[in-house]
């Protein structure tokens, strides 16, 4: 047995270049798999987390008839006395923050340009709005009693050439169906590094939003952040008495969850392609090496080596190739991820619309993935070696001995 490994090892040393390049093929395959997996990890984790922080929260409380897509402002579609309910919810120990928000739609216009926007009426004092506070690039954050100030996202500000202190016209759809117009001052420009959100969302104090839309003392939703995501179900249970619609982050981010599932099946497909390419390189190398050593196989057979040992010899060679390739691949893959993350991958506004995707993808390498992908690559390499090995073990000694080499 030891002799077999010794022979296999030396056989690989015979044509070092070929051995190196085959191991490199395995390594590059594995490195690509690792990079893909870690980019997806980074991206998916990012998408859910930013959606929770910026848009869905962990839980929302809404009127049963509220339709997110219409952002209706009819009183029956809204939550009445939202401050009271928010205060009650905020008292739960699992809850980090609960704050009312009012959503409206409108048009922002400067002298010659205008753009459709979503208006978020928010409570400037709530910690739930920290992502906006932290994302302030210039100017000041809102104050609760500001009656003519708003915050605008960086991409929208760029588009309309707005700066802090500039004034801008805003027309807003109101509760009873007409449109209210007012001139606002840009108090600050924010960025959440999420293009789809920043380009279309302006923020103003809840009280002002209620006033301009004529929805006094109503909100579209109570936005709730938990200290711990795993408490979602217990808090939902506690909120059942409210006679309002309770939605969890899972319900609200279905699109992302579905996208993730879909992405995973695409990824599986890419995995297959990469593995197939790797496998074909290995099959080729080993077939070459069987072919070149036909007579040698004949000699081994003449000396009385059984087919199973000859099979073992060639499998040992692919095992060595696989081990070398996997080790090299883990190093390459890890290095690749580090390199990738020096700058991240800036996708800017390529994020799908309606989808909160950070504008920079960062790869996140998980130990799980390293182990699984390494094992997978190892097995595929061994399987690829099986065919040439079986070919070698089935050679008839007489025919093999007659070969030129």
């Amino acid at each position: 047995m030891l002799q077999i490994f010794k022979m296999a090892f030396r056989d690989l040393g015979r044509n070092r270049r070929r051995t190196f390049f085959s191991a490199l093929a395995v390594a590059i395959g594995l490195a690509l798999l690792m990079l893909m997996a870690s980019v997806i990890n980074g991206e998916m984790g990012n998408a859910i987390q930013s959606s929770i922080l910026l848009q869905s929260g962990h839980i929302q409380v809404r009127s049963f008839s509220f339709d997110e897509n219409k952002s209706s402002l009819k009183w029956e579609d809204l939550v009445a006395n939202p401050d009271e309910i928010a205060a009650k919810v905020a008292a739960f120990p699992q809850v980090k923050a609960a704050t009312p928000r009012l959503f409206a739609s409108g048009f922002l216009s400067t002298g010659d340009e205008s753009t459709g926007v979503k208006i978020y009426g928010i409570d400037p004092n709530s910690v739930a709005n920290d992502p906006y506070r932290m994302g302030l690039l210039s100017g000041n954050f809102l104050t609760a009693d500001d009656r003519e100030g708003l915050l605008i996202g960086k991409p929208a500000a760029d588009k309309l050439h707005l700066q802090v202190g500039d004034t801008v016209g805003l027309s807003v759809n109101t509760s009873n169906g007409d449109v209210q117009e007012q001139v606002f001052t840009v108090r600050g420009i924010y960025s959440t590094n999420t293009y789809a959100f920043d380009v279309s969302t302006i923020l103003m104090p809840l009280a002002k939003a209620q006033a301009i839309t004529q929805t006094e003392n109503h909100a579209s939703t109570i936005f709730i952040l938990l200290k711990n995501e795993t408490d979602t179900d217990s808090v939902v249970a506690a909120l059942q008495g409210l006679n309002l619609d309770i939605l969890t982050w899972r319900d609200m981010n279905q699109l992302i969850v579905e996208f993730e599932t879909m992405a995973n099946s695409y990824i599986a497909f890419f995995y297959l392609i990469i593995l197939a390419i790797t496998a074909s390189v290995i099959v080729n190398t080993l077939i070459m090496s069987v072919y070149e050593r036909t007579r040698e196989i004949g000699i081994l057979s003449a000396v009385g080596m059984r087919g199973s040992r000859i099979l073992g010899l060639f499998l040992a060679e692919s095992a060595f190739l696989a081990v070398g390739g996997v080790i090299l691949g883990v190093i390459l893959g890890w290095g690749g991820v580090q390199l990738f993350n020096i700058n991240g991958f800036y996708i800017g506004n390529m994020g799908l619309s309606g989808f909160l995707v950070g504008d920079t993808i960062r790869a996140q390498l998980m130990l799980d993935d390293i182990v699984n992908l390494s094992v997978m690559t190892f097995i595929v390499t061994l399987l690829a070696g099986l065919y040439p090995a079986v070919t070698a073990s089935r050679l008839e000694p007489v025919a093999a001995l007659r070969a030129e080499k």
Partner: protein, 230 residues
Amino acid sequence: MEVVKVENITRVYQIGKVETRALQGVSLTIENGEFTALVGPSGSGKTTLLQMIGCLDQPSTGRVVISGQDVTRLNRNQRADMRRGHIGFIFQFFALIPTLTAYENVEMPLLLNGHTPKERRERVMELLKAVDLADRANNRPDQLSGGQQQRVAIARALAPKPALILADEPTANLDTANGQQVMEIMKKLNQETGVTFVFATHDPRVISYAARVVTLKDGVIEKDSASEAK
């Protein structure tokens, strides 16, 4: 005792529609300790006959008995086992494993037969001495001359103490001096250890070493010096 008993064997090669009758009814008995040359023109069936005797291939009809065991219808593994235990081979080309040293090449059949390290070491060194290559034990085949490689092959063939060694034109790729040295060694080992040698050759000088000469022609035995002597 007879080491080889071949009874009326034929071997027909079929390539497409063309049939070649390489052996057409050969019967031959070789006793333990004989030193026999197999001669005849090219294509007469020498190699084919050696392959039958060596369990490398099987006859189309007839029977082959080696050391009392009928090997005619053994399966692949059984034939491999038979070769490993009972038969040594020497080929025209220098059939060493290029990645292994002279020592390791000779050791190979002993490893396959499961000898202990100590047995192996003693046996390998003894054999390398017998073929006058003890000082070359750690050389790889590409560091040895053709004659030296062939002598390593002889040592390897002898390693498992087979009853029978088959050599197919063992001197064909050697110059006269090396060819003679190889023959001298084979003869000496034949006399000292009593192992049976059968070798195919064209070379008259090699034939002169043989105690018995079997002449093949067109797949049948044309002449056998042993039966003439009787």
